[in-house]
Structures are given as structure tokens and as C-alpha cells.
């Protein structure tokens, strides 16, 4: 779930997110010998592999805008009615649209923290910065995201 959610924060098409998730697990199994538990958790290592898979994909494909309707079958949301489900999908689509307007580094931070659900120490480990820096940068990124949403 963490890997798939990480990709869904970056990639609008769910079939692409599925492909990238599969590719990540294939690479993880192939490179299992390289995992060193002393250097960090297995979750953080798998997300590092996922980052590389995403970077490869970005080199091959141009990022497209979210089309909210019908592209979020995989959104976890127990809606009381289909209309409310549709509204929720639009709300999430608008938020993720705004994320795609951010700089690469900002998007990466959002994807790791909220997509993968990693805590700040794990994000810090992956990015090679301190936990304090993660928190500070995250707060600034949220400010920029707020600005992006306001300008829509």
C-alpha cells in the first residue's frame, strides 16, 4: 500500500501506478542482497527503490494533469452516496493537481510523507537530511501548496 500510494501522489493514471509498483517489487526482489538493515528500515529502502523507478519513468514520460472523473477507482473512501464519492474524488484530484505544480523536490517530500505515510525520521533517512529540516521544509511546502490552490 505504501509504495502504491507513493506513486499515486505522483502519477495521475492508476494503471501506470500499478506498473511502477510491480516494477518496484521486481527490483526489490532482484536487489534483496543489497539491503542492509543497519542503514535503515526495509520500508525506507523499498521507498528508495520506488523513487528510482519513478525517476526512470519521469525520464520516459511527460507528466500529465489529473482528470478527476473516473480515474480514482482506487481511492479509499466510504461515501454515503455516489454524488458524495464524486465530490470527494474532485476534491482529491484538485489537491493532487496542485501538488503537480510544485517543484520536484517539494513533490518528492509530499509523496514520501503523505503518499507513503513515512514518518519524518524515515523521510529524513531517505533524503539524507535531518528530521528538523524535514519538518521545516514540509511546512514551507504546505505554504506553497496553499498558494497554488489559491491561484487555481
Amino acid at each position: 500500500m505504501a509504495v502504491y500510494n507513493y506513486f499515486r501522489f505522483h502519477v495521475p493514471q492508476l494503471d501506470v501506478a500499478e506498473d511502477l509498483t510491480a516494477e518496484t517489487f521486481l527490483k526489490v526482489v532482484r536487489a534483496a542482497d543489497r539491503f542492509d538493515p543497519v542503514r535503515g528500515s526495509s520500508k525506507a529502502w523499498i521507498l528508495t527503490v520506488a523513487r528510482n523507478v519513478l525517476a526512470d519513468w519521469r525520464r520516459r514520460a511527460r507528466l500529465r494533469q489529473y482528470v478527476t472523473l473516473g480515474t480514482m477507482h482506487d481511492l479509499v473512501y466510504e461515501a454515503p452516496s455516489p454524488e458524495e464519492r464524486l465530490l470527494r474524488e474532485e476534491e482529491v484530484g484538485r489537491l493532487l493537481d496542485a501538488v503537480t505544480t510544485l517543484a520536484d523536490a517539494d513533490r518528492e517530500l509530499i509523496g514520501l510523507r503523505y503518499g507513503s505515510g513515512l514518518d519524518t525520521s524515515e523521510v529524513a533517512q531517505i533524503l539524507g537530511i535531518s528530521e528538523g529540516s524535514v519538518r521545516t521544509r514540509l511546512w514551507r511546502v504546505l505554504g506553497r501548496l496553499r498558494g497554488a490552490l489559491a491561484h487555481e
Binding site: 502504491y4 521486481l26 532482484r30 538493515p37 482529491v92
Partner: protein
């Protein structure tokens, strides 16, 4: 929305991959994609093995429980275009209880009680639900629940149609009543 509210909103977003993804990865491994990489596997780490096995097992169980046989479901007759007469039907090609391949809303012109070549197609959709043509104003939402629209067996599916009366249909989708996910 301030930063704290944005933080909460982003935390609340979660996606769930389709249940068949795990078996698909297993299939790719079995087909030998494992050996494609530069480093051949000498031994697998137990944590990673457990992770991969978990992913595969969850998918396989869900696949077994769900089944994926294609079905065609024809339901008639309701007022789906807002015209005021219960003379419309819906023809659905789907994987049983799962993905919709094709969905057609038709007007049962020949009063046969199901779809036939003489009927008028109001909407023909493949793949994901989407708005067809300019949505315009005075959109009306029509909902029919609960019937078996996807061949799954239980009458637990709903049909959602958005149109402009009396004869335009711009979007149609079905959903499983407990989850409300349009498909």
C-alpha cells in the same frame, strides 16, 4: 485552507491497488523477469520475501473469492434520460463483480424489454466513467438501486446516470452499494 488543514487533508488521502496486482507480480517473477537485472539473486532477504509473499497472497485470495469471468447484464426498463417514460435500459459488459468494459444506455424503441439492434443508443461508454459531450446546464442525476448490474449475484449495485432531460445522457456508471465507487 491553512497549512494545518492541508496537512490533515493530505493525510486523509489513501489509494488501494487492485487485488490482482500481487498475482501479476508473481507471474512476472515466474516468467523469469527476476533474472533480467544485473545482480542475480543469491539469497532473498526474509523481510522482503515476506513482503512480496504477503502482496501475492492477498491478491491471490481476493482473486479466488472474486472471480473475473466476463458477463453481460441487460436491465430494462426505467426512465434514465429524464424523458418521463420508463422506456430506457442499460447494457453492461463487465468482469463479474469488478471492472466495467462497456456500458450502454439505450431507449427501448421496439418495446422488446431488452437491448436490440432497433433501439436507440443514448450513451456508449468504454473503460472509465467520463462525461460525454458538453455537460450543459440543467443536469439531472438519476439513480437506481439496488439491482445486480455486474453479474455478481446479489442485488447490491446501483446505477447512476447524469443527463439533460428529455433525451441526453452524458454520464453513466454503476457502483457497489457499500463502497460507492463509480465504475
Amino acid at each position: 485552507m491553512n497549512e494545518e488543514e492541508l496537512d490533515q487533508a493530505l493525510r486523509g488521502i489513501s489509494f488501494r491497488p487492485r487485488s490482482t496486482l500481487g498475482p501479476e507480480v508473481l507471474g512476472r517473477l515466474r516468467r523469469g523477469e527476476l533474472s533480467r537485472g544485473a545482480v542475480p539473486p543469491r539469497r532473498r532477504h526474509p523481510i522482503l520475501g515476506a513482503l512480496a509473499a504477503g502482496l501475492v497472497l492477498a491478491g491471490a485470495v481476493a482473486l479466488t473469492l472474486q472471480g473475473t469471468r466476463s458477463v453481460e447484464v441487460d436491465r430494462c426498463c426505467y426512465d434514465l434520460d429524464g424523458g418521463g417514460r420508463a422506456d430506457d435500459g442499460v447494457l453492461i459488459h463487465a468482469e463479474r463483480d469488478a471492472r466495467v468494459h462497456r456500458l450502454r444506455v439505450y431507449e427501448d424503441l421496439d418495446r422488446s424489454g431488452d437491448y436490440s439492434a432497433a433501439d436507440l443508443i443514448r450513451l456508449d461508454r468504454r473503460g472509465e466513467p467520463s462525461i460525454q459531450g458538453p455537460p450543459g446546464q440543467d443536469l439531472v442525476t438519476i439513480e437506481r438501486c439496488c439491482l445486480d448490474f455486474d453479474g455478481g449475484g446479489p442485488e447490491d449495485d446501483g446505477l447512476l446516470v447524469i443527463g439533460v432531460p428529455p433525451d441526453r445522457v452524458v454520464m453513466a456508471a454503476i457502483y457497489e452499494a457499500p463502497h460507492r465507487t463509480l465504475r
